[in-house]
C-alpha cells in the first residue's frame, strides 16, 4: 500500500504545459517507424512521395520546434489519478486548463476551440477535454493528446445489432474508413472501441489510439486477430497516403473492448491522422 502524497496544482499545470508543447512538435518514434517501414511496401509513386514528406516534416518540426500540423488540436487529456494523492494549491480542473492555455500561448499554437453555435473562438484553446480515472497508488499519470478536427470529423459511433458479430463489425468499420477517403489525412491509425455504453465505446476508441503504433491488443486474441484482418482489408481499399492511391491507407488498427448490454453492440471508430500526437508524464 502506497503512502499518501500531496501534489500541487502548480506541478500539474507545468506538466500539462510541457506535454502539449512537446506533443505538437515531436512526432512519436513509433509513428515515424511505422511510416518509414511502409515506404518500401508502397507501390504508388505519389504515395511514397507523400510518406517521404511526412518523414521530412517530422524532422523539420523537431529541429525548429515548429508545430507538425497547423491544426494543433483540441486539447484532450487522459489522467490516471492515484487514490492516495491529495491535490493542493487550487482546483484540479483549473490547473489543467491553465496548463493548456499556457502551452497554446507560449508555443505559438493555434487556438482552435469555439462556441458550437456562434463559432466564436474561445481565444485560448480551452476548455480542454479531460478524462479522469481513479487508480491505485500515489502518483498522477497525465497523457496529453492534441486531437485535430479533420480526423475527428471522420469518427462515428454505431449501435450494431448483437447478431452482427465480428464479421458485421469488420464490415461497419471498413465501410466507414472507405467513406472517409482522403479526408482524415491517411495514412491513419484506426481506434476502435467495442462494448460498454454508447459514450464508453467512444472513450475506449480514443484510448486505443494511445497504444504504441502496431501493438496488438494483449488481453484478447480474438481482438488481435481482428486488428490484423481489419488492417489488411483497409489497406486493400487503395486510398493510400493522402488519398493519392496506394497500399498504406492505415498504419495500424487498435481495438479496446469491454462487456456491454445483452441487447446492444456499441462500436465507435475514432480515426487518428498520421500526425498522431500524444505525450505522457508521471508526477
Amino acid at each position: 500500500m502506497s503512502s499518501f502524497r500531496e501534489i500541487s496544482c502548480d506541478t500539474i499545470t507545468k506538466t500539462v504545459r510541457e506535454l502539449f508543447l512537446d506533443a505538437n512538435t515531436v512526432l512519436g518514434e513509433d509513428v515515424l517507424y511505422a511510416v518509414k517501414k511502409s515506404i518500401a511496401g508502397e507501390e504508388s509513386e505519389l504515395g511514397r512521395y507523400a510518406l517521404e514528406k511526412i518523414e521530412e516534416n517530422a524532422k523539420i518540426a523537431r529541429e525548429t520546434s515548429a508545430p507538425l500540423c497547423q491544426d494543433t488540436g483540441l486539447a484532450v487529456l487522459f489522467v490516471e489519478l492515484g487514490q492516495d494523492v491529495h491535490i493542493v494549491g487550487g482546483n484540479f480542473d483549473e490547473a489543467i486548463q491553465r496548463g493548456v492555455r499556457e502551452a497554446y500561448r507560449d508555443g505559438f499554437l493555434r487556438k482552435s476551440v469555439c462556441d458550437p453555435l456562434s463559432r466564436k473562438n474561445t481565444g485560448d484553446n480551452t476548455p480542454a477535454i479531460i478524462h479522469t480515472e481513479i487508480v491505485d497508488g500515489n502518483s498522477i499519470k497525465i497523457t496529453a493528446m492534441p486531437k485535430g478536427g479533420g480526423s475527428e470529423n471522420m469518427s462515428s459511433c454505431a449501435m450494431l445489432l448483437p447478431a452482427a458479430g465480428a464479421e458485421g463489425l469488420k464490415k461497419c468499420i471498413v465501410e466507414k474508413v472507405a467513406k472517409a477517403g482522403s479526408n482524415p489525412c491517411p495514412p491513419v491509425i484506426v481506434g476502435i472501441g467495442i462494448g460498454g455504453s454508447i459514450e464508453k465505446s467512444a472513450i475506449l476508441a480514443k484510448k486505443a489510439l494511445l497504444r504504441t503504433v502496431g501493438e496488438h491488443n494483449q488481453s484478447d486474441s480474438r481482438l488481435s486477430k481482428l486488428e490484423d484482418e481489419i488492417l489488411e482489408e483497409i489497406n486493400r481499399l487503395g486510398i493510400g497516403p493522402q488519398g493519392y492511391g496506394g497500399r498504406t491507407t492505415a498504419l495500424a488498427v487498435h481495438i479496446e473492448m469491454m462487456p456491454c448490454h445483452i441487447a446492444s453492440l456499441p462500436v465507435t471508430i475514432n480515426i487518428q491522422c498520421h500526425v498522431a500526437r500524444h505525450k505522457e508524464a508521471v508526477i
Binding site: 516534416n57 518540426a61 507538425l68 491544426d71 479526408n183 486493400r236 488519398g243 492511391g245
Partner: protein, 189 residues
C-alpha cells in the same frame, strides 16, 4: 520520382488546360487564404451584389488557417483543411473569376463541373506536413476579415510550394483514379 512542373501565378486558361490529374506542381507567386466563414461572407456578398473585400479574378484560394507566426517569421505552420466544407460556395466563386483552389479531399460534382466549365484547377496540398510547407511561404499579410483571427483572409507570397493536381479541366479526379488503380489484393511490384 516524376518531375515537378514549375508554375507561376497568376493562373490562366492555358496553364489550367496544360495541367493534368496527378501532376506534381511547384507553385510560386501569390495565393490568398480563406475557409468556412470567409467563404460564407464572400458568397453572400456576391449574392447581394456587394463589392468584395478582395477581387477573385484570376486568384487561387488556399483553404488554410495557420498557427500564429513566431517573432521574426512570416508565418506559422500551415497546411490545407478539408475542402468539401467549402463546396457549397465554390461554383459561385469560380463563376466570379476564381481560377484555382488548394485544399485536401474530394470535391462535389458541382465543383468539378465548374472547374471544367471555367477552366480552373483544384490542387491538393499535403495534410499534416505544415512545418515543411511553412518554409515555402515568404510573406503573409491579412487582407480581409481580420476579425476571424487564424481564419482571416491573407495574401501569401509562396516559392516552390509542392502541390498535386487533383481535379483538372478534363473533369478527371485523382482520388477516384487512385483507388481504382490500387485497390484489391496486393500485387507484386
Amino acid at each position: 520520382m516524376k518531375n515537378a512542373i514549375q508554375v507561376d501565378t497568376p493562373l490562366t486558361d492555358t496553364i489550367c488546360e496544360e495541367l493534368n490529374v496527378g501532376d506534381l506542381v511547384l507553385l510560386s507567386g501569390e495565393v490568398i487564404t480563406g475557409r468556412d466563414t470567409a467563404h460564407k461572407r464572400l458568397y453572400n456578398s456576391i449574392l447581394q451584389g456587394e463589392r468584395l473585400p478582395v477581387s477573385l479574378e484570376g486568384e487561387i484560394i488556399f483553404y488554410a488557417a495557420p498557427t500564429p507566426a513566431r517573432p521574426g517569421h512570416p508565418i506559422g505552420s500551415i497546411g490545407p483543411t478539408t475542402s468539401s466544407r467549402m463546396d457549397q460556395y465554390t461554383p459561385k466563386l469560380i463563376a466570379s473569376g476564381l481560377k484555382g483552389m488548394i485544399g485536401k479531399g474530394k470535391r462535389s460534382a458541382e465543383v468539378r463541373e465548374a472547374i471544367k466549365r471555367y477552366k480552373a484547377v483544384y490542387f491538393g496540398a499535403m495534410g499534416g506536413v505544415a512545418a515543411l510547407l511553412s518554409r515555402c511561404v515568404k510573406k503573409a499579410e491579412v487582407i480581409a476579415y481580420g476579425d476571424l483571427g487564424p481564419e482571416s483572409m491573407m495574401r501569401l507570397e509562396i516559392v516552390n510550394f509542392p502541390l498535386v493536381v487533383v481535379n483538372d479541366t478534363k473533369g478527371r479526379d485523382l482520388y477516384e483514379e487512385a483507388v481504382e488503380k490500387h485497390q484489391g489484393p496486393l500485387k507484386n511490384f
